[in-house]
Symmetry: C2
Amino acid sequence: MNRLLELFASRPDQYLSGEEISRTLGVSRSAVWKQINRLRQEGYIFDAVSRVGYKLASKPDKLQAASILAKLKTNKLGRELYLNEQLDSTQAEAQRLLSAGAEEGCVIVAEEQTAGRGRLGRSWHSPPGKGLWMSIILKPDIPFASAPHLTLLTAVALCRCIRRMTKVEALIKWPNDLLVEGKKISGILMETQLEEERLVSVAAGIGICVNLEQQDFPADLQPKATSLMQASGGLVDRESLLVAFLEELEHWYELYMREGFATIRNVWEALSTTLQRHVKAGDVEGVAVGLNEQGALLIRQQDGSTVPVFSSDVAESSAVG
Amino acid sequence: MNRLLELFASRPDQYLSGEEISRTLGVSRSAVWKQINRLRQEGYIFDAVSRVGYKLASKPDKLQAASILAKLKTNKLGRELYLNEQLDSTQAEAQRLLSAGAEEGCVIVAEEQTAGRGRLGRSWHSPPGKGLWMSIILKPDIPFASAPHLTLLTAVALCRCIRRMTKVEALIKWPNDLLVEGKKISGILMETQLEEERLVSVAAGIGICVNLEQQDFPADLQPKATSLMQASGGLVDRESLLVAFLEELEHWYELYMREGFATIRNVWEALSTTLQRHVKAGDVEGVAVGLNEQGALLIRQQDGSTVPVFSSDVAESSAVG
């Protein structure tokens, strides 16, 4: 199969006759025909012109585990990698794998989610092949009070990775959305398991709208959402983005486990679109001025007092901003 | 089956001949023999004396779902009840049921656990038929910062239930043990699922040493553990204790969801053996003086300053007390 693809790759935009392919690869013409059909089923598109031959018109944008693992330079993250054609949601799969004893660093990716989940029980739109829909299992063993740190550090890693890979100037909107020019490009959903008052495992769910066109979003999301492709003006290689993100996340995660929240906090504040803005979070209204040590957003009210607010204190996250 | 047991109950300590039973119940002698064999498999013990008949020597102390549900006056807790002969651990089963969509109030009981778990990854000794080993599923939807409250309210409910049902003066040792005369009689293990910074589900694991004799404990636990039977001087009916505990827990849980932590805190402090004692928790050493609003233990150090400590801050709970 690879030799056939290599042959097409060596003659870009050319039509190759069945006879020529057969001769070059040393296989029968019916074997050539079978291979091309198999590739078509995998999403490759061939132009077939009678008496002329085949041209490879487009390749499927499908994530390949072997190819990802060959590039990945992490210690743990993604070393155990599950690619799925379709899942209910990668978070649900992560919980199933955790029950079965999955280890830290395990990554679950789905080409398509049929019941993708966002915050506050909202659904998350995740059409096939155009985004990165994934969950990452972490087992940090830190006190429960540190749970908000993990959302913030994941947002930092994702924001920096997007900026580095696509030159798109993504910003973090508290608590856990990534925006480009005011439109949502990515969301993060953390599901955490505590034993007593310590974290034992976290499933970090991350959705990135990579190559979606505007019409790929449901009508109600179109005014509020965009994709990296639209923001950067070209297709973004999902595989490279995934590899880069896992490396970036591991970097910040290891730094956090070694040195604590202080550096994450500074970087988060630098990348945030929420700071210095007027926000309303539940009953609290004022100017967002930073994060405290626990990862709560500090809001300076009109009377001059500063109040820490966790996202858990705000039933409707859309009330912020 | 019930009529046969009723017959034996109406003639305590008597031998009944097969013929007499057959005549009284209006069934064949071979049907009598089959029923007695089936009861033997369920743990009933019959003395069978040739040419005399059968005597019911002892009944199994086995929890029966129908009997429990008939007595239970709760709204939710235990309405969905899973009794198991043997489980790896009721907490593991609770996690499996949660993945499958189990609702609030679901209760899992095992007559025996083969891999019962305590805090900090310790094993929990749970021999068959002599204790109550259970897990209770709650879905409180409260902020993550309130997680410690649930351990404390479960300890309050259990302590009060034991005092009411057995007159044994149990006390709470921070964070989550129940002691009688300085020996452990019960342990609580909370496993909590967060979505972002809100609690979505809790599996409250509770082990109560009800009718264990001292030789039922492993040698290393014997100096440190005791049972309600030993403390109260008589067998304790496990079914009544289970029913009473579920009712008591529901009472305190509903109160907490309605009115918050303040009342729980007062009652916990009144039932605690930790307060006014010198304690060492991690790096903090001093006199335990109460709980704060978050459920942290307040320790007054020698320099007069008071420091809040969560159990999550203490790697070794045995360092406390």
